[in-house]
Amino acid sequence: MEGALIFISGLFLPMFCYLAEQVVPKPEVVEEIFKFILVYFLVKFIDHGKSRIGLALKLGASFVITETLFYFVNFYLLGRPEIVVIRILVTLSLHVLTYLILINGIISRKTIYYLISLSFAIVCHFLFNYFLRG
C-alpha cells in the first residue's frame, strides 16, 4: 500500500508544480522544492522500504510518466516518435538523480545538508536544462 502511495504521490507532484509555476516560472527551482517536500514527508511518515535507489527510482519514474503524458501532444504534432524515447531516457535519469540527492540530504537530518542537497539538485536540473536547450 505504501509503495502505491509513493508512486501516486510521485505521479501527482507535477500537478502541484504546474500550479506553482503559474506564479514562479522557474521550473528547476519549483520542481526541486516540491520534490524535496514530497521526499521529506515520505521519508518521515511513510514506510518506504530500505533502498534509497528504489525510492528515487519510484519517484523519478512516476514524475516522468506524468511529464511524458502531457508532453505527448507535442510528439504527435512533431511527428517524431524517437523524441519520446530519448526524452524519457534523459529525464528519467535526471529526476532519479535529483531524487537520490534529495533523499541523501534529508536522511542526514541536518538543516545544512537539507540546503546543500536541495541546492545541488536545483543546480543539476538547471545544468540539464541549460545543456539540453543549448
Binding site: 502511495l5 508544480c17 503559474q22 502531457f70 508532453y71 507535442n74 504534432l77 534523459v90
Partner: protein, 888 residues
C-alpha cells in the same frame, strides 16, 4: 617549555617582519650625476688615528667591469682616508668596491661597496613635478581622465555621426566613393555615346523598348485615370478588370471575339455582295454590248464574249468556297441567310446560265439566228434581274434588295450590341436603381430586342417583363434571359443558316441552369443533343427541378454532374429547358462572423507579448480576407459572378483558416513559454477540463489513501523511519555510487543523442527536464484538394464542341492551383527548407503523402504553401527538393 616556544615564535616573527635595516647596514648610496666620497677611518689599538697608511681602492661596476683600479685613497685628516668618485655618466646599480690600507706591515681591507641610486624624491621636487604635470591648466589626473573621457565620448559621437546610418568608417567610405567615382567615370565616358548607341542600335531601338515594355506580361496599367499619375495596385487593377468584365464575366477578348464574330460575318457578306454586284454589272455590260452589236459582231466575236459571260456566271454545282463565279457567290448568300433571301438571286443566275448555254448551242448549229437573238435577250434580262435583286450600296434597310438586307443586318447588329451593352450595364448597376427604374429600362431593352429578334417562340422571355414589375429577382432573371436571347440572335447572324443554336445562362431563384435550343431552319426538322456539366460543388441532393427531356447523372471521369438530353426540333422551333439547383455557392455571414470572433479571441492573449506584431499581421490579413469574401459576395450581381465569388471566397476562406491556425500556434507558443504545461492551451477544451477532473480526482484519492495508511498501520517512529535509510553499508554505498554513475552516463548519452539525432537535424528547442514544450510546433497547413470542374460541352448533332473557353463552366472559371504530393520511397519525413538550398534552415517536416499546394518552382526545388512557426518567424511557404515530390 611553552613560554620558550612562545618566545621563540615571537622572535621568529619579529625577525621575519623586521625591516631589512635590522639585518645589517645597507650599501652607501650615491646619487647620479654627483660626487661620492668613499673612505674609512683608521685607528690603532689605542684608538689613535693612523696617518701614515697607504690606502688604495678597487672597484667594479654593476656589469663586473673594473671601475676603480688601485686608485689612491689619500689621508685627509684624523685617520680619514678617502677617494672622491664622480658618478656622472655612471649607471644606476651596485658597485662592489674594496678599500685596502697598508700600515706597519699590515694590510687591512674594508668593503666599501656603494650603490648609485636615483636621488630621493623631496616634497618640493614632487610638488614641482606635479605642478609640471598639471601644467598651465592646473588639472589633476582625475580631471584629465574625465576630460579625456568627455573628449573620447565626443570623438565617439563625432565618429558615429561621421559614419552615419551606413556605419562605415572613412576608409570604407573612401573605398565606396572610389567605387562610385569609377562607376561615374565609366558612366560619364559611356554617356557621350549613349544616345547615339541607343539610336543606332538595330535590335533595341526605342520603338522596340516601348513595345517590350508594353507587351510585358507582368506590366500593369497605371490606373483607369491614366492622366492622374497614380500607380494602380494589383487589387485596383483586378477590381477594374471585374468592372470591365461586368456581369457576363467575359474578358474583352471574348466579348470582342463575339462582337467581332458578328461584325466579321456581316463584313464578309458585305464584301461578297459588293463583289457579286460588281461581277454582275460587268457581265451585264458585256451582254448589253453583245446585244447592241449583234448585227456587226461575227459569230466568233459573239462566242468569245459569251465565254467571258458564262465563265463569270459559273455552274450550278459551284459552292461558296469553290470559286468567284456569280453562282458561287449566290450560294454564299444562300448559305448565310437561307434560300428565302438569296434564292431569287440564285434562280436568276441559273436562268442566265441556262440562256447562255442555249445561245452557245444555237450559235454552233444555226449561227446568228432569231432564236439565238432571243437567247441573248433572255440572258441579258436575267443578268439585269440579278443586278436588280442585289440593289445598290445606297439602299436603305427597308429596301427589298440584298444590299438592303445587309444594311438591315448591320442595323440589327448595332441594335443587338446596344441592347447587350445596356443589359450588361443594368446588371452592373443593379443595386443603384429602384425597381421601377429597372422595370422601365428592362421594358425598353426588351422592346429593342423584340424589334430585331429573329428567334421564334421566345415570347416567354420577351413578355416576362410585363409580369415582374416589382419583383427584383424576376426582373434580374428577365435581364439574364434577354442577354441570352441577344446572344442567340448574334449567333444567328454570325453562324451558318439553319444550324441549331444552343445558348446557356443562369438565373436566380436557387440557381437555374437554363438552355435555349433553337432550330432556325424554316424547312428542316433537326435533332439536337444537349450536354453540359454542373459546377463541381453541386451534388445530386442539390438538384431541385429537372425539366422533361433532361437527365442528370454523375460522371466519375469528370467528378461532376452531367446534364444531357436529346431534343427533336421542328422548323423554327425553340425550346427552353432548365435544371434548378439549390444555391450552395454562398458563404454564410454567420460563418464569416464566427471566424471574426475566433480571430478576435485568439488575438486577445497576444497583446503585450513578443507575438503581438505577428498576431497583428495575421489579424489584419484575416480581416482583409473576410472583408474580401463579403465584398465579393456583395458585388456579385449574377449567378455566374456569385459562383465565381464563392470559389474565390473559398480560396480566401482556406487562407483564413490557415491564418487562424497560425494564430492558434502563436497562442500555443505563448503559453508554452510561460509554463511547463503551456502546450495544453493549444489542446482542445475537453482535454483541459479532463485534466482538471483528473487532478481533482487524484487529490481526493491521495487524501483517502493517506488516511487509510495512517489509520490501518502503526505509524513508525521518525527515528525508525530515518534509520531504515541511514543504515549505510559499504555494499549499499557502492551500489549508490554505481547508480549515480550510470545515471550520469545515461544522461550524457541521451543528451548527445538528442543533440545529434534531433536537435542538430531540425533545430527543435526543447527543455525536457522542465517540461517546457518547444517554442515551435509546426502544424502542417490544411490542404484542400481542388478537383477541376470539367469543361462544359454541348453536343450538337453528334459533334462535340466547347461551349465556352477551357477555363469556363457556363461562364464560371475553373482555374485551380497546381498540387504537389509529397512522396518518398525510403523515407517518411521530408524537410521543408526556408530557401531552395540544402544548406538552408529546416523550417518544418512533413510526412509522406501530405498534399501541398505548389507556389512556384526554381531549379530542382519546389516552393509549397505551408504554415510553420520557427524561431518566432511565421513561414507561409517553404522549399522541397523536387525529387521528393510527385505531381510537381
Amino acid at each position: 617549555m611553552f613560554k620558550r616556544a612562545v618566545f621563540a615564535l615571537f622572535l621568529l616573527l619579529f625577525a621575519v617582519l623586521s625591516p631589512a635595516q635590522v639585518w645589517g647596514s645597507s650599501y652607501q648610496k650615491c646619487a647620479v650625476n654627483s660626487s661620492c666620497v668613499l673612505g674609512e677611518f683608521l685607528y690603532d689599538d689605542s684608538y689613535v688615528p693612523i696617518t701614515n697608511a697607504v690606502c688604495t681602492i678597487n672597484g667594479r661596476d654593476p656589469d663586473n667591469a673594473v671601475f676603480l683600479n688601485n686608485q689612491n685613497a689619500p689621508h685627509v685628516n684624523d685617520g680619514w682616508y678617502a677617494k672622491t668618485v664622480s658618478t656622472t655618466g655612471l649607471s644606476v646599480g651596485i658597485y662592489p668596491t674594496k678599500l685596502c690600507c697598508v700600515t706597519g706591515g699590515q694590510t687591512l681591507c674594508i668593503d666599501k661597496t656603494f650603490s648609485i641610486d636615483e636621488p630621493d624624491l623631496t616634497q618640493s621636487s614632487v610638488d614641482n613635478a606635479v605642478t609640471s604635470i598639471k601644467g598651465g591648466a592646473n588639472l589633476d589626473i582625475t580631471q584629465v581622465a574625465t576630460s579625456v573621457a568627455m573628449v573620447q565620448t565626443s570623438v565617439n559621437n563625432a565618429v558615429t555621426s561621421i559614419k552615419g546610418a551606413s556605419n562605415k568608417d572613412l576608409s570604407e567610405v573612401s573605398t565606396d566613393v572610389g567605387g562610385v567615382k569609377t562607376t561615374v567615370d565609366s558612366i560619364s565616358s559611356a554617356m557621350g555615346t549613349l544616345v547615339a548607341d541607343i539610336w543606332s542600335n538595330s535590335t533595341n531601338s526605342f520603338n522596340t523598348l516601348v513595345n517590350s515594355i508594353w507587351t510585358n506580361p507582368t506590366r500593369e496599367l497605371t490606373s483607369a485615370n491614366i492622366t492622374g499619375g497614380q500607380i494602380a495596385t494589383a487589387s485596383g487593377v483586378a477590381s477594374a478588370v471585374t468592372s470591365i468584365k461586368g456581369a457576363s464575366n467575359k474578358d474583352l477578348s471574348e466579348v470582342s471575339g463575339q462582337v467581332a464574330g458578328v461584325q466579321t460575318s456581316v463584313d464578309s457578306m458585305s464584301v461578297v455582295v459588293n463583289n457579286l454586284s460588281l461581277q454582275v454589272s460587268t457581265v451585264s455590260a458585256k451582254a448589253d454590248t453583245l446585244l447592241g452589236k449583234w448585227g456587226t459582231y461575227s459569230i466568233a466575236d459573239i462566242v468569245s464574249g459569251l465565254s467571258t459571260i458564262t465563265n463569270n456566271i459559273g455552274n450550278i454545282g459551284d459552292t461558296c468556297l469553290s470559286g468567284n463565279t456569280i453562282m458561287a457567290r449566290s450560294q454564299c448568300l444562300i448559305d448565310k441567310w437561307g434560300s428565302q433571301t438569296a434564292g431569287s438571286v440564285y434562280s436568276a443566275a441559273v436562268n442566265a446560265q441556262s440562256a447562255a448555254e442555249s445561245l452557245r448551242t444555237e450559235l454552233d448549229y444555226n449561227g446568228k439566228s432569231t432564236t439565238a437573238y432571243q437567247d441573248i435577250q433572255t440572258l441579258n434580262t436575267n443578268l439585269n434581274l440579278v443586278s436588280g435583286l442585289l440593289g445598290s450600296s445606297s439602299d436603305s434597310a427597308l429596301t427589298a434588295t440584298i444590299f438592303g438586307r445587309i444594311k438591315k443586318v448591320e442595323d440589327n447588329v448595332e441594335s443587338l450590341n446596344t441592347s447587350g451593352t445596356g443589359l450588361t450595364n443594368l446588371l452592373a448597376k443593379w443595386g443603384d436603381y429602384s425597381a421601377a427604374d429597372i422595370f422601365d429600362k428592362v421594358k425598353d431593352l426588351s422592346s429593342q430586342i423584340s424589334a430585331v429578334n429573329t428567334v421564334d417562340n421566345v415570347s416567354a422571355i420577351l413578355n416576362k417583363v410585363d409580369t415582374s414589375a416589382n419583383d427584383l429577382e424576376q426582373l434580374k432573371n428577365t435581364v439574364l434571359s434577354l442577354k441570352a436571347l441577344v446572344s442567340v440572335n448574334q449567333q444567328l447572324l454570325e453562324k451558318t443558316a439553319n444550324k441549331p443554336i444552343v445558348q446557356s445562362w443562369l438565373e436566380e431563384g436557387s440557381i437555374i441552369f437554363k438552355n435555349l435550343i433553337t432550330n432556325p431552319s424554316t424547312t428542316t426538322r433537326q435533332s439536337v443533343s444537349l450536354k453540359f456539366y454542373l459546377p463541381r460543388e453541386a451534388t445530386q441532393k442539390d438538384i431541385m427541378v429537372v425539366d422533361p427531356g433532361l437527365s442528370v447523372v454523375y460522371d466519375p471521369s469528370q467528378d461532376a454532374l452531367e446534364v444531357s438530353g436529346e431534343f427533336d426540333l421542328d422548323p423554327k422551333e425553340t425550346k427552353i429547358v432548365s435544371v434548378e439547383v439549390t444555391d450552395v455557392w454562398k458563404i454564410e455571414d454567420s460563418e464569416i462572423n464566427a471566424l471574426k470572433n475566433q480571430e478576435t479571441e485568439l488575438f486577445e492573449p497576444l497583446k503585450g507579448t513578443a507575438y503581438f506584431a505577428q498576431g497583428t499581421t495575421l489579424k489584419s490579413d484575416i480581416e482583409v480576407s473576410l472583408e474580401k469574401i463579403s465584398r465579393l459576395q456583395r458585388d456579385a450581381k449574377t449567378p455566374e459572378a456569385r459562383i465565381l465569388a464563392y470559389r474565390e471566397g473559398e480560396a480566401e476562406l482556406t487562407k483564413v483558416n490557415g491564418e487562424i491556425n497560425d494564430l492558434k500556434t502563436l497562442v500555443t507558443s505563448l503559453s508554452s513559454n510561460k509554463s511547463m504545461f503551456g502546450f495544453v492551451g493549444g489542446s482542445q477544451l475537453l482535454s483541459v477540463w479532463g485534466m482538471v477532473m483528473v487532478m481533482v480526482a487524484g487529490f481526493v484519492f491521495l487524501g483517502l489513501l493517506i488516511k487509510k495508511v495512517s489509520s490501518t498501520k502503526e505509524k513508525p517512529t521518525e527515528m525508525a523511519v530515518f534509520d531504515k535509510l541511514t543504515v549505510a553499508t559499504s555494499k549499499k554505498l557502492s551500489a549508490e555510487i554505481l547508480a549515480v554513475v550510470v545515471l550520469l552516463v545515461v544522461m550524457a548519452v541521451g543528451m548527445v543523442g538528442y543533440y545529434f539525432l534531433i536537435r542538430k537535424d531540425d533545430g527543435i528547442s526543447d527543455k525536457a527536464g522542465s517540461l517546457v514544450v518547444p517554442t515551435e510546433t509546426p502544424i502542417p497547413s490544411p490542404t484542400a484538394t481542388i478537383i477541376p470542374t470539367p469543361t462544359p460541352t454541348i453536343m450538337v448533332e453528334q459533334k462535340e464542341i466547347n461551349l465556352n473557353s477551357p477555363k469556363q463552366v457556363l461562364g464560371i472559371s475553373t482555374d485551380e492551383p497546381t498540387k504537389s504530393v509529397v512522396t518518398a520511397s525510403e523515407i517518411t519525413i521530408i524537410n521543408v527548407r526556408s530557401k531552395p538550398s540544402l544548406t538552408a534552415s529546416i523550417i518544418m517536416k512533413v510526412k509522406v503523402g501530405v498534399v501541398l499546394q505548389k507556389v512556384s518552382e526554381r531549379g530542382d526545388w519546389i516552393e509549397v504553401k505551408i504554415s510553420a512557426l520557427k524561431e518566432g518567424i511565421l513561414y507561409k511557404t517553404g522549399w522541397i527538393n523536387k525529387s521528393l515530390l510527385i505531381g510537381s
